[in-house]
Amino acid sequence: MRAASVEGAPLLSVRNLKVHLRVGEAVVRAVDGVDLSVDQGESIGIVGESGSGKSTLARAVLKLLPNVELAACQGEVNFRGLDLARMSDPALRDLRRHHGFSMIFQDPLGYLNPTKRVGAQVAEAISGKSSGSIGDRIQQLLAEAGLPSPLQLARRFPHELSGGMRQRVMIAIALASEPALLFADEPTTALDATIQLQVLETLRRLHRDRKMAMVIISHDLGVVAELCSRVYVMRDGKVLESGDTVEVFENPKHPYAAQLIELSTRHRRHAAPVGSNAAP
């Protein structure tokens, strides 16, 4: 079942989303009335510090939150005209497997099966109706995620790979369903700076070449500045400010957003790039 995209409508729209989580006895308003939209092929960023609700927002949208923790979840989540909140589990599964959305996380090791070879794990995610042999498809996905010599790599176990390679395996798995939208929750936070740059470059390439929409969640404004044309700044479950990334960075309206930007630029005082990295 592949929903027809509605002309002009955003790929994903979230309206007045509220997610209340049960933490022990208390109820935490993790997401407290958030509006958000992602256009077809667009890349947006959600920044905020820990506890701001950015990850919960993503998990709620993708319906990844366990019911036991959920005290309340209200609001509209519309993906390609489909109401995700009211969608049945099989329909949702179908959307995850075919051309819907995928997600990658900060800690790939926590999401990879340690006892299975990488290739087999990619194979699991490949939707049934792919052309050509599964083996070719696995290699193609691993290569697309920027992994060298995918043939040898498919036979490796997750623990044999570096952090950057594991994240690339996660990306390959995420790509297997040919998603229209990729959620990346702190995709490079666990990686070294030089590796981070490479993985971001890969995400940039995938976004461009596949016209894949992306939602990048990060505490690091630099990551968002690298990939996202629009940005949402969150705190305490609310979106404080949103808009064009450059405009928000240049001229933040909310004092908290201004502080966050000030802090991350203050640290980067001497960030003048060595050599040229400007766009050709």
Binding site: E49, P148, T245, V246, H267, R269, N277, A279
Partner: protein, 290 residues
């Protein structure tokens, strides 16, 4: 010029490392002949990527590990040659702060118990004045009012608060050197700034030598007096202004990998987001093209 308080001379640490998909092992010099001086009251940052040996160096400086070769000297005394009992006398002077504050605090102890444990062990305060002593130290790391934090368990504190407890625990021993291994990387940026300011203030006020180990160049440059860049167990460059005038190509590479939040640069990068070819800076592994 202040005296070097902590020194390493030709410090080397070897490990046997398993080769992936094989039964064979090979020798890895995690730290490879490092000479380093930490001066009194100085903040020395050691930056490097994972696997560069910076944490192993920290562990060697803290005598949590023994060097395979070379010595670590504290005020000219070789820590390597001390026996356990002798070491105890120095333990107090060289304190540690680690990356993950939740794992450096006992989850089953309240803050008060954790800190009191240390205070009693080192006889820092009379039993009657212990609570006031702890409260004072919590207040000095910005946990105010302290009464609110003393009865809590670590899980009832945020990461930044836990790290402050760890700093308070180290500082109340009035150490001469603190070795902090990635003390910021598990913290939010606004908290990072606070913890950095706190460490800077404490190290200035108490003239504590601070060895700040980090992978984050941005975070350390505002606080460090000197910065050492580590790679593959060696210090490739050390100095005051290596950010402005990096001499080693690896330092330059690290600087290049920093993400800019400068709006002007962001604009050029984002303009590149759709359509245009990938910037010249790309360092993709070869062979990704399908």
């Amino acid at each position: 010029m202040s005296e070097p308080i902590l020194q390493s001379r030709g410090v080397t640490r070897r490990y046997l490392s398993q080769i992936p998909s094989s039964w064979r092992r090979r020798v890895v010099n995690a730290v490879d002949g490092v000479d380093l001086d930490v001066n009194e009251g100085e903040t020395l940052a050691i930056v490097g990527e994972s696997g560069s040996g910076k944490s192993t160096l920290a562990r060697l400086m803290l005598r949590l590990e023994q060097p395979s070769d070379g010595v670590v000297l504290y005020r000219g005394v070789s820590l390597t040659d001390l026996n356990r009992k002798q070491w105890r006398a120095y333990r107090r002077d060289i304190q540690a702060i680690f990356q993950d504050p939740s794992s450096s605090l006992n989850p089953r102890m309240r803050v008060e118990q954790s800190l009191a444990h240390v205070a009693r062990r080192h006889e820092l305060a009379e039993p009657a004045k212990l609570r006031a002593f702890l409260a004072r130290h919590l207040a000095s790391v910005g946990l105010d009012p302290p009464e609110q934090y003393l009865p809590r368990y670590p899980h009832q504190l945020s990461g930044g608060q836990q790290q402050r407890i760890a700093i308070a625990r180290a500082m109340m021993l009035e150490p001469r050197v603190i070795v902090a291994d990635e003390p910021l990387s598990s913290l939010d940026i606004s908290i990072q700034a606070q913890v950095l300011d706190l460490m800077r203030e404490l190290s200035r006020r108490m003239r504590v030598g601070l060895v700040l180990i980090s992978h984050d160049l941005n975070a350390v440059q505002s606080i460090a007096d000197r910065i050492a860049v580590m790679r593959r167990g060696r210090i490739v460059e050390i100095g005051r202004d290596i950010f402005d005038a990096p001499a080693h190509p690896y330092t330059r590479l690290l600087l290049q990998a920093r993400l800019s939040t400068n709006p002007r640069e962001v604009r050029t990068r984002l303009a590149n987001l759709s359509g245009a070819p990938v910037s010249s800076q790309t360092i993709e592994p070869s062979g990704f093209q399908v």
